[in-house]
């Protein structure tokens, strides 16, 4: 290395004068040492480019404007299929994502606002006919649940949930082990039957408790 020149450290104000003294001199000539590129670095570059080309061709679904599934172009197993889950688990998921927002995750509801589901005589009724109607077209006006009066309105879920989903969530509510429920489960066919029977109910608005109580517990099989 070239020889470093010692500067005479004049007494400075603790400033940085000594770092930038005034007398400039000609540049020093640099050496020609130039280290070649190492081999493993070149292989690393090739591996990256190779992988890039492969991945690009494999997952671009023919550059289609409307092809959103990266595996579409290959005819392989479609990745986008919902895994089948046993109804009780599906029911719990739906309860947690839909019903819990008002009836609360613990099923106790909000005092004076939203009735509880735990131990509710409406949920544990022998036949599911009234319960299915409430979920399909909603409920309005006064209703007493476990002896407490509520007056709120529940929104319809006719087009938000399919028959299978309604059956799953009601089965979950009626057979919820931690709440000690073990009423009869609900089948999608029962839901479908009532859904078609109450086709025009949506126009008439939500059910009232009185109307529901007038209905028989069990629906005669269609």
């Amino acid at each position: 290395m070239n020889q470093t020149r010692d500067h005479n450290m004049a007494a400075t104000t603790g400033g940085v004068e000594d770092l930038a003294p005034a007398d400039p001199r000609e540049h020093i000539e640099p050496t020609e040492a130039e280290r070649p590129l190492s081999l493993w670095f070149v292989t690393f570059l090739c591996v990256c480019f190779g992988w890039g080309g492969y991945y690009m061709q494999r997952y671009s679904a023919d550059y289609g404007a409307l092809s959103y599934d990266e595996n579409a172009g290959l005819g392989g197993a479609k990745t986008n299929v919902v895994k089948q889950v046993d109804p009780y688990v599906l029911g719990r998921r739906l309860f947690e994502s839909v019903c819990a927002r008002c009836h609360q995750p613990d099923g106790q509801g909000v005092a004076g606002q939203y009735p509880p589901l735990v131990g509710s005589e409406w949920v544990l009724a022998p036949g599911p006919a009234r319960l299915i109607r409430i979920v399909l077209d909603g409920l309005q006006g006064p209703i007493t649940v476990k002896g407490v009066a509520y007056n709120n309105n529940m929104t319809p879920h006719r087009d938000a949930l399919t028959d299978a989903q309604i059956a799953a969530v009601l089965t979950y509510l009626r057979t919820q082990k931690d709440w000690g429920h073990n009423a009869a489960p609900v089948t999608p066919e029962e839901v479908a039957a009532i859904r078609s029977k109450t086709k025009d109910r949506a126009a008439l608005g939500a059910w009232t408790a009185a109307e529901l109580l007038a209905l028989p517990e069990h629906e005669p099989a269609p």
């Binding site: 400039p24 590129l37 991945y55 690009m56 997952y59 990266e70 995750p105």
Partner: protein
Amino acid sequence: MSTGSPSILRSFSPAYTEDVAQQRALLAEIDTSCRGTLLLFFGAAVVWLLIGTVFGLTASLKLHWPNFLADTAWLTFGRVRPAHLNAVAFGFASNAALAVSLWLLCRLCRVPLMHAWVANIAGVAWNLGVAIGIAGILAGDSTGIEWLEIPGYASPLLFVSYALIAIWGVITFRFRRERRLYVSQWYLLAALFCFPWLYSVAQILLILEPVRGVVQAAVNWWFGHNVLGLWFTPIGIAAIYYFIPKVLGVPVYKYSLSLIGFWSLALFYNWNGMHHLVGGPLPAWLITVSIVASVMMTIPVVTVGLNHHFTMWGHFHKLKHSPVLRFMVFGGMSYTVTSLHGVLLSLRSVSEVTHFTHSTVAHAHTGMYAFFTMVMFGAIYYIVPRITQLAWPSARLIRIHFWASALGILLYIVPLAIGGTLQGMAMINPDVPFLAPDKYSVVTMTLPYLKVRSVSGFIILVGHLAFATSFVWIVARWLKAARHRQASPTTSHV
């Protein structure tokens, strides 16, 4: 000090090269020519740093303490967070970036900053634009587009003042006396060239004449990621390439590596914007091309990382003695960490878990703070003594600043990256409820990690206060010295 600087008009005449050359530009003369402009930018940067940190801390506290300052409309989380983003990105980071790039260009081109008054006006206009923009965001005029929240009535001011500063960089470059282009100059020129194109396309296609539908998301994230990759990252790397060799007195390990690093960064970085939309409503090919570009980013990152690391080889013991070296090495290593973390986050199988979670926020802060901001701190600690010809008043303040910022950001990144990944795993498992107050749910399990982040926010604020005190103290000393010099011009200063 700088006598005979050529007028603006003459700078466009191609014949104008030689007569400036005879005038030997001393390093000291170059530094003093930039002094006014740099102190303006660094002062504004420090102010925005404090404002941005307070906004960030407020937003962080609100995330686990919803009722904190919840009743005033202009302090709601949805406005404080974009205000934080713009205060630190367009406030602190851009001011520091502009100052450091102007100084580096002057130093590397061996020519004083000419007609500094134009750059000063542009600086004042830039900060005015950012201030109006952030006031607009807090008042509720945000454009609702991430990274471009500054409303339409402030962004033209930003663009015009930026263009003035970029022109100044190019003119200073036009009169360079050092024929050779050092690697930092490529990065600076790339950054000064890219930002106006990015900002104007984004403003036109998103705010003035919005394109239709999800193409807005494509333009938004083309701009969003490129403002990080082609504006902040090149200036950060340029600073590291200059300051580590300069402080150590050791040339860069292998200059040919820096060539590969620069061109691969230019090629791959600006293609990877769409990894913010993996799984989103965009054609598969668009997302795939960005994932490939993100993974290919390993090439520039490994290249630049190795280049800096081997430059430092054998000199790590000097970290004890030099504050600038500490910030630069911390920033350099963070750049490698954040880029490799980014490569991981962009893969589809990983993005399925970490998309929409705090892991992305941890990655963003590793890049913007641990890498870029720490490098800017290092640059400021090197530049300010040279432009004011005064040493930093207190070494203790510098040590407090370094350790508070370094430990603070580590305490920010590591818990949030882990917490974000766990949050992601919980979110893609439908059996974990999204919100159940007393059970393991997505919202309740992230709370402890958000609280640790607020703690790290306080530590970083302590670091920034130490830095601000240091800065104000040295500027005050310089003003006193300058007044003293006016009072008795006889004592020669050079």
